[in-house]
């Protein structure tokens, strides 16, 4: 195992961090409607449409996009390592299906319950994401139980049970969708498509707290993740407690994915593609790959959401369409270019 190159670490992450900061600013300034920045700053707290566009409609949304993009990419990195499968992605773990089902049940049975935070002082949040998160937790326990093989978490079983659990949940969701009334069914489908649309800083703060905590924790396991990609046997011989590591990574990434899907629905492709792209660019050392993927995922989703708002203005596209549409060809191009030099994956 190579010693971590600190200069490369600082250089790569520094550049990405600057790009991320610039992206956040640019994406907050870009949109389908014109924004008068001077007017927005004049009196932020008055009923000022420019200030509302900037601080209510765009900024929370951009910040949520960065958190979700980064979180999805970071989870993608560790899942691809944990399951030793290049196709692993956050949507595969079963947790996302559980979150969707929880959210759908919430939308059907208590769409308008609000939970006051600190007796309403900090505002109120909808029960729908909470139901989704509860669904994520329950499905995590369920998938975990079915992935145990001789008492320990088995990557192969985890992959299979996750995929099959999600397929089953998809059937349940489609069933629910076909028994609710027509208009409700439309609403459920829109919710399932996923969106970063939010005006609640409280929600954004919750998600950031989850993502930051989860990410730092995963990052601290970077070295062990490097070893586990050599194979379980090898990792064990090198002193990694693989069973514990697998369990911890599963729980941490499940919690992150559950929180993300609860708020923004299923936004695909970021968690699959960004880790691969970054692996091609910065290499496979997880101590560098994880933060680089986090930052790149944030940049990518931030721009994808801005395009989603602008491309068909005034209509807004589901952001998942944009991530797949622009991410897919770019990924194939990188794969093709790398293919000329050396084996890509």
């Amino acid at each position: 195992m190579k010693v971590l190159d600190r200069r490369k670490m600082i250089l790569v992450n520094g550049v990405l961090l600057i790009l991320l900061a610039l992206s956040v600013i640019a994406c907050a300034l870009l949109g389908p409607v014109r924004l008068d920045l001077a007017r927005a700053w004049q009196n932020i707290f008055a009923a000022n449409s420019d200030a509302e566009i900037l601080f209510r409609a765009r900024l929370p949304r951009v910040l949520l996009g960065v958190a979700i993009g980064g979180g999805m990419a970071a989870c993608g990195v560790v899942l691809q390592a944990l399951l030793s499968n290049p196709l692993a992605c956050p949507q595969m773990l079963g947790v996302s299906g559980g979150a969707s089902l929880g959210g759908i049940l919430g939308l059907i049975f208590f769409p308008n319950w609000l939970l006051p935070i600190a007796s309403g002082l900090l505002g109120e949040i909808s029960w729908v994401p909470l139901a989704a998160f509860l669904g994520a937790l329950l499905s995590m326990i369920f998938v975990y139980r079915f992935s145990l093989f001789h008492g320990r978490l088995h990557p192969y079983h985890l992959l299979l049970s996750g995929v099959i659990f999600n397929a089953f949940i998809a059937a349940v969701i489609m069933f629910l969708n076909s028994i609710v009334d027509f208009y409700q069914a439309q609403g459920l489908l829109f919710w399932l498509m996923g969106s970063l649309s939010t005006r609640a800083y409280l929600t954004v703060a919750f998600i950031w707290a989850y993502i930051i905590f989860g990410f730092l924790w995963l990052w601290s396991k970077g070295l062990s993740l490097n070893l586990i990609t050599l194979g379980e046997e090898a990792a064990m011989q090198l002193g990694v407690e693989t069973a514990a590591l697998q369990r911890q990574i599963f729980v941490a990434s499940s919690l992150m994915i559950g929180a993300m899907v609860s708020v923004s629905g299923m936004i695909g492709f970021v968690g699959l593609m960004v880790p691969h792209v970054m692996r091609l660019i910065v290499g496979g050392d997880h101590r560098l790959l994880l933060p680089a993927s986090f930052l790149a995922g944030g940049i990518f989703l931030c721009w994808a959401d801005t395009l989603a708002r602008v491309l068909l203005a005034p209509a807004e596209l589901p952001v998942g369409i944009v991530t797949a549409f622009f991410g897919g060809p770019f990924f194939l191009y990188l794969l093709y270019r790398e293919g000329g030099k050396k084996p890509a994956l």
Partner: protein, 305 residues
């Protein structure tokens, strides 16, 4: 966009001739002069059939057909977008009526292959809806009923137009979904209803009939009226949902309403009633109780722009 019964008469006549010609074949083919066993593939068609007095000829409806109450008791042939071919055939219909703006054209081809007569109506615009009411009445052998019903709707529309005529147009957002925000766009009969109600649809220029709107667009367009028509699951507290956007006049002036009604969402015979209900939200001052009996419309002349 503006609708007048007299102007309508000419195109109506032409359209009805075309429709008559197109369906002359099936009218001749049936031994009974007019269809007696009808399957409706859409809630609006079911409503139209009942309103025209053909309720007793319906032998199959969708699971969404819930108006009038008698429709609920009729045999179900599946959903709106996915009716069951088997269930339809099982009812031995001599006419199936569906709408063009759905999956019905595909189903129609399958049914025609099985020898079932299918008629599709268009419901994109207000004119389409009125034309289709007349067409259905004619196919079933009672054109006078169609004439009567469309005239009734035309009168309702005219009454609303007179009421709101003196009032200035109010920028209006009609949201049919909240999370994410789905609005009524252009090329949609609901867009026409908003205009007739004295509103101006803020998403009316959009090419799509329904579109997902970002919040910033609503803020920039500054609607004076927001109506949540709740396609989806959002039922209450519309004012609360918008309260953080105080720059929007509708929020400031407390003109954020919850109005969920199939009367406007369904392109059927109740659109006239639905129109009046939206107009009362867009221009309540034009419907003030004190103005009853006075020269209609005079009520809102003094209103602020």
């Amino acid at each position: 966009m503006s609708y007048r019964p007299k102007i309508l008469a000419a195109p109506l006549f032409v359209v009805s001739l075309i429709v008559l010609a197109a369906h002359a074949s099936f009218v001749q083919a049936t031994s009974a002069p007019y269809p007696q066993r009808i399957v409706s593939l859409s809630p609006s068609v079911t409503e139209t059939l009942f309103a025209l007095g053909f309720g007793n000829r319906i032998v199959g409806v969708t699971t969404y057909c819930d108006y009038p109450a008698e429709a609920r008791k009729l045999p179900k042939i599946g959903g709106f977008t996915n009716p069951s071919l088997e269930a339809i055939v099982g009812q031995r219909p001599d006419l199936v009526i569906g709408v063009n703006e759905s999956s019905h054209p595909v189903k129609a081809r399958e049914m025609e292959r099985l020898g079932i007569k299918v008629a599709l109506i268009s419901v994109t615009s207000l004119n389409d809806i009125l034309n289709s009411i007349q067409s259905i009445a004619r196919w079933l052998g009672n054109p006078e009923a169609g004439e009567k019903l469309t005239q009734k709707i035309a009168r309702q529309i005219d009454a609303v137009k007179k009421r709101v005529a003196p009032a200035p147009r109010r920028a209006t957002l009609l949201a049919v979904g909240i999370k994410p925000l789905v609005a009524v766009g252009g090329k949609n009969f609901i867009d026409e209803l908003i205009t007739l109600a004295g509103g101006e649809n803020i998403a009316g220029q959009a090419a799509q009939p329904w579109l997902n709107l970002p919040a910033e667009y609503v803020i920039a367009k500054a609607p004076r009226v927001i109506i949540e028509a709740g396609m989806g699951s959002e039922r209450e507290q519309p004012a609360k949902r918008w309260q953080d956007l105080k720059s929007i006049p509708a929020v400031k002036e407390q003109r954020v309403y919850y109005y969920r009604s199939d009367k406007i969402l369904r392109p059927g015979p109740r659109i006239g009633e639905g129109l009046e209900e939206i107009a009362r939200l867009v221009h309540p001052e034009c419907f003030a109780e004190s103005q009853r009996g006075l020269n209609p419309g005079s009520g809102c002349e003094g209103s602020r722009p």
